[in-house]
Each structure stands twice: as C-alpha cells, then as structure tokens.
Symmetry: C2
DNA sequence: GAGGGCGTACCGTCTGGTCGGTTTGCGCGA
DNA sequence: TCGCGCAAACCGACCAGACGGTACGCCCTC
C-alpha cells in the first residue's frame, strides 16, 4: 500500500511536470519535491529519469492496445469496427490528454532500447488498424485510390493533434468531438455517400 | 556577406541539431562546433539559445503566412481557395519538414514573450483559415453541422502530423500527398458529393 | 586609431545519479 | 507476547561534469 503510493505519486508528479514544462527542463529534484518524496526513494523504484518517461508511455500504450484488441475481437462489418475504434481512441486520448502531450513532445528523448520498444508497440497498433482498412477496401466500402499509408496517417493525425487544441473546459464534450472527428474521417475514406 | 554567413550557418546547424536531438538536449557548444564558429561569434548575433529557436519559427511562420495571404488575395470560390491553401500548406510543410519537427516538439520551451509572439502569429493564420471555412459555410458548400473549430483542428492535424510520418525517400511525392490529403479533407467537409 | 566582429578563458549554477548508512515492517521461534 | 534478525524501503549529502552565458581583449578593416 505504501510502496505503491510512493511510486504512484512520483509517476503522477512526473506526468504533470513533463506535460507543463517538458521532459528535459524538468529536474528529478522538482519531481521528488512535487511528489513529496526524496530522491533516494524515487531511485529505489525507478532506474532513471528516462524510466519515468517510459512508465507514462507504457500505461497509455497498453491501455489503447487492449481497447483496440477488444473492439476488433468483437467483430462486425469493417466500417462499424473502424467507427468504434475511432470513437474509442479519440475518447481515451481525451481522457489521457496530458499523457498525449508528453508522448508526442518527448518521445524522442527516450534512450535507445526504450524508444525501440515504444516504436514497436506503436507499429503494432498501426498495423492492426491498417489491416482493418484493408478489409474495408476488400469489401469495397473504403476507397483504394489513396495509398493506405496516407489513410492511416490521416487517421492518426486527428488523434495526435487533440492534445494541441482540445480542452475539457471548451464548448465540446469528448463524446461530441469523438463523434464529429469519426464522422469526418469516415466520410473522407468511404466509397459510398454517407 | 561574411556576417550573414556566420548567422546563417549557425541557424542551419541549430535547426539540424534541434530536429534530430531536440532543443533541450542540444548544447550551444554542439551548435557552434557544427557551424564551425565559436561561442563568442554566435552570441554576437543571437541574444540567447532561445533566440535561435525563435529564428527557426520566425522564418517558417512568415513564409506560411505570406503564402496564405497571396492565395486568399487571389480570390475565387471558397472551395477552390481552401483547396489551394491546403495543397500549399502541405507542400511547404514538406519543404520545411525539419522546421515542423522542431516547431511542434519544442515550441513550449520558448520563453514567455517569444512564445506569446509565436502563438499570436499562429492564431492569425488559424483565424484567417477559419474565416475561409465560414465563407464556404455561408455559400452552402461546407457543412455547418460540425463546429468550425473542429473543422479547423481537423485541417491542421494533417499538417501537423506530416513531420511524424512523411519521408521524402518514401513512395509518395510531396505533390501526390498534398493532393491526397486535400482530397480527404475537402471530401469530409463538403455538403455535396464530390 | 577607432570601432565592430570575433576568439578565449572562465564563472556560478544545476544536473542526473550514487552510495553508505538508517529506519521500518514482518515472519518466526520461544 | 515478546524479541530477534533480516531484507526491503528509504534518506540526503555528495559527486563530476556540463550547462548557458559573459568579460575582456585581440585584430582586421576603414
């Protein structure tokens, strides 16, 4: 109970500071002060500052991947599966907005082995989504006159950009935004009129 | 000639290093070594490391804004103007891929006054584009059932994401990608079928 | 000979990380 | 119930070095 408490508080403080100040400009000292622990305690649970950053990513990647797997496993027509995936990824990205901010801003600061790991897991997600699009193309519901890689990029761009403009205090709820972005995406890749 | 040479070489070296290593992890020493000048020379032309980062942004923002103004000034139906803007911004973003990488990754590391300036100029671009969409909505060619802010975000997301996936060595040329992304965007926001 | 472009040496500060030691929690034999 | 022992949790003073930035003076050009 106490052990998890320390590690969790450090992780939360690190996420907060990384999101507001950036990874490189946040010192380990700041993190431990914000978390109300000492440096010794922190280095007892984490190997390095780098490890803190990876912990943030690890949690988010694992969650998104498990969501994707669930939705795909549920099955259905390609278009409906893509719709469900799209709505879900937008909503969870809004739930994890600070994580997203840190992710895209500071990913390149991970050390080699961890960067490889993160890249690998992103590619997994990426490939699984591309396979869905391919199924839709085979079924004839998604257009095939644009390279699939461009369609995939077009999809991830919205998710990526969320942390740059969306605010929970803004006029739109996450459910609305998820519906709207999903609708925009599907309309652009469908062969038939909506 | 010589003066510009020094400043230019420093700017180029800084851009290159910021794009590959990140702003915070690049030291002034590295920059001046890569540029083949000394720290004294560099600090003669730039006030601070922060100034170097701003110089990168300044150039890109000025260029994109002037392009936008030109295209809007040329006039035409809203849809065609938006199409031209979209194609142009994708193409110039590809021309300035390293700048884009640095921009979105390290913008938050600018000091207060310069961050304000950059934010202001981005908003200018943003507002001008939103006005175009509004015109299209008034003309009835762009859908109005989705908040304009969401449409604008949907547009900028593609531009933003380019530096994360596009490679000049990849299979698609910048012209093709510009056409494809523009097509996807327009199709999603049009009221009528293509 | 004056002044601006530039080189050199240096400064104070802060960094991520370490390490020897102390405290805490807990199973267990009596 | 107590006390023992021991591992895990935790502390915080302490590195070595790198950082951004500056002071000052040389030299070349006009």
């Amino acid at each position: 109970m106490k052990t998890t408490n320390v590690a969790d508080r450090v992780t939360a403080a690190a996420l907060d500071l990384f999101a507001t100040q950036g990874y490189a400009t946040t010192s380990v000292q700041q993190i431990v002060e914000a978390a109300g622990v000492t440096k010794g305690a922190m280095y007892h649970y984490f190997q390095s500052k780098d490890d803190l950053l990876f912990a943030v990513y690890d949690r988010m990647l694992a969650l998104q991947k498990s969501h994707l797997d669930e939705i795909v496993a549920a099955g259905g027509p390609a278009e409906e599966v893509v719709r469900a995936v799209c709505v879900d990824v937008v909503e969870t990205s809004i739930d994890f907005l600070p994580e997203g901010t840190v992710f895209f801003r500071s990913m390149h600061m991970l050390t080699e082995p961890r960067l490889k790991e993160v890249t690998r897991r992103r590619r997994e997600y990426h490939d699984e989504f591309a396979a869905l699009l391919r199924r839709g193309q085979d079924e004839g519901v998604f257009r095939a006159d644009v390279p699939r890689s461009v369609l995939v990029a077009h999809f991830f761009s919205d998710v990526h950009y969320l942390s740059h403009w969306y605010s929970p205090q803004g006029p739109e709820t996450k459910t609305e935004v998820a519906q709207q972005l999903t609708d925009l995406f599907l309309r652009s890749i469908r062969t038939t009129a909506p």
